[in-house]
Symmetry: C3
Subunit: 208 residues, 3 copies
């Protein structure tokens, strides 16, 4: 039951991130194979770095090839679908990103706790799993990563992972804790997109 919940959530996250990769790839006028590469990087980049850091190698998608098939299928369907519709709404990319962020953050934190690492490590691992895929996608496409610029992005990931670790500490059921933390991360990030919320920034403009 728990395993199924994690597995299905993870697949939803991979699909959401892979589509976001396809969206960015089409802007760069990539060919179908390049699109699949960018979809893959976005979909499994964060979890790959997480597993390499924790020494959980071979990394997850080498062990379970389903991830590869899901990414290829997602890339093909998305390309076909993008080709059909004449415009897609501007909020689609940040929204897909928000889903990926919420799901991957909590799954990353869960995996770290499950492997016996501490709460702080689980929060960092959650954050890495959540943001790195999109970060690599943005770097590859020549942009300053989304995560480092947009309102309440790393913030949502860190707070969401912390919420999961706290729920876990207080003995919540695993699935309950994950749903609460995913919902918290997602609503925080989506609210930030919708109302353009942001934390105060600290700039050194004065240095000029």
């Amino acid at each position: 039951m728990l395993e199924n919940f994690i597995y299905i959530s993870d697949m939803i996250g991979v699909i959401a991130c892979a589509i976001s990769g396809v969206l960015v790839a089409t802007r760069l006028r990539m060919d179908p194979f390049g699109i699949t590469v960018l979809a893959g990087v976005t979909g499994i980049g964060g979890g790959t770095l997480r597993d390499m850091m924790m020494g959980a190698t071979p990394v997850f998608w080498i062990v379970d090839n389903t991830y590869i098939y899901v990414i290829i299928t997602t890339a093909i369907i998305s390309v076909y679908w993008l080709h059909r519709i004449h415009r897609f709404p501007a909020y689609l990319l940040p929204l897909l990103d928000a889903f990926g962020l919420a799901i991957f953050t909590i799954i990353g934190a869960q995996k770290a706790l499950m492997l016996g690492f501490s709460g702080p490590v689980a929060i960092v691992m959650g954050c890495i799993t959540g943001v790195v895929g999109g970060m690599i996608r943005d770097i590859l496409s020549g942009q300053i990563p989304f995560v480092l610029q947009k309102e309440i992005y790393a913030t949502a990931s860190i707070l969401g992972a912390a919420l999961y670790v706290i729920c876990n500490y207080f003995g919540f059921g695993q699935i309950v804790a994950m749903v609460i933390a995913m919902a918290g991360t997602l609503s925080l990030r989506v609210s930030a997109i919708y109302w353009h919320l942001s934390l105060p920034v600290f700039s050194d403009d004065r240095e000029a």
Copy 2:
């Protein structure tokens, strides 16, 4: 015999990629040590990521220091040679890149199969080994990676790796399978360079 073939091919790939790193580094007006760093990243970056993902650590060039010496020697000779000639042909960089792509793709796929991983994983590992070195080189030098823009690049890598896996599946001798797949990858990529072949691109220009 097989081991020798793989080892010599790998060294040719490292040399080709290291020279391509030197070419890019001189454009950025780097000093000799910076040039060596970029040569090294391009020459062994892809295989390093492959080994880390598969858990084959310490990575190959830590185990066999010859790679380090080959890169340093290549960097020194290339710098000297570039300094001597007054211009080098514009097709040199893509051609070196094509050699590295063909060799590294098949060697990466071969290593994955040899370690007992599945065909799809071998294809992905081949692609990672083939394209990541050049990708990091381009990112470090502030460009959108070649691989994500140029005609039939990721495509040649993926199809070449698939060709190798298929030849292997049908019981071809290892060296025969590798030569066929390397030749296939190289000719596909070189043809694409020569005739400016490309697959249809999918762009969301309409979104505007």
Copy 3:
């Protein structure tokens, strides 16, 4: 004694690099959590890649969470302090970077030798530990990495690591060897900053 020396040096390096990450992050007008992410990447990025390559996983900061706390504390204090002062000197960033470079290079080389790897591997690992954190920081913030452009940067790292390996080979005490090599790296880099020293560059401008 040796362990304490390494640990304290490492922490000083992490703090110096984390502050440099905060400086860059404030220029990009990041929020506090984004700043912490960039501080962390700069502070522990190099050592993380080193450990993953050598197979020394889980990486060091997963095993010893002190690194996470030090980075968070450094980020908070730096942000507060940057917010208070009205301008900070232009040489602060390169100077912090030079400290991180000197300390991390030698610590990386030391760890590689301690794990039984060869001298050349230790030099490469030292260089990776020294330069990669700042490299990722610069890429994430959309700049061509400092290390690939600035005078005697990779050079100082490589020569410093080589100096350490040589001192070690000739039987110098560990701490003495580390202090000599750190001082050598730091003075080489600081001299280069101060007098704008650089090695001759090789450029292919003639290719035009």
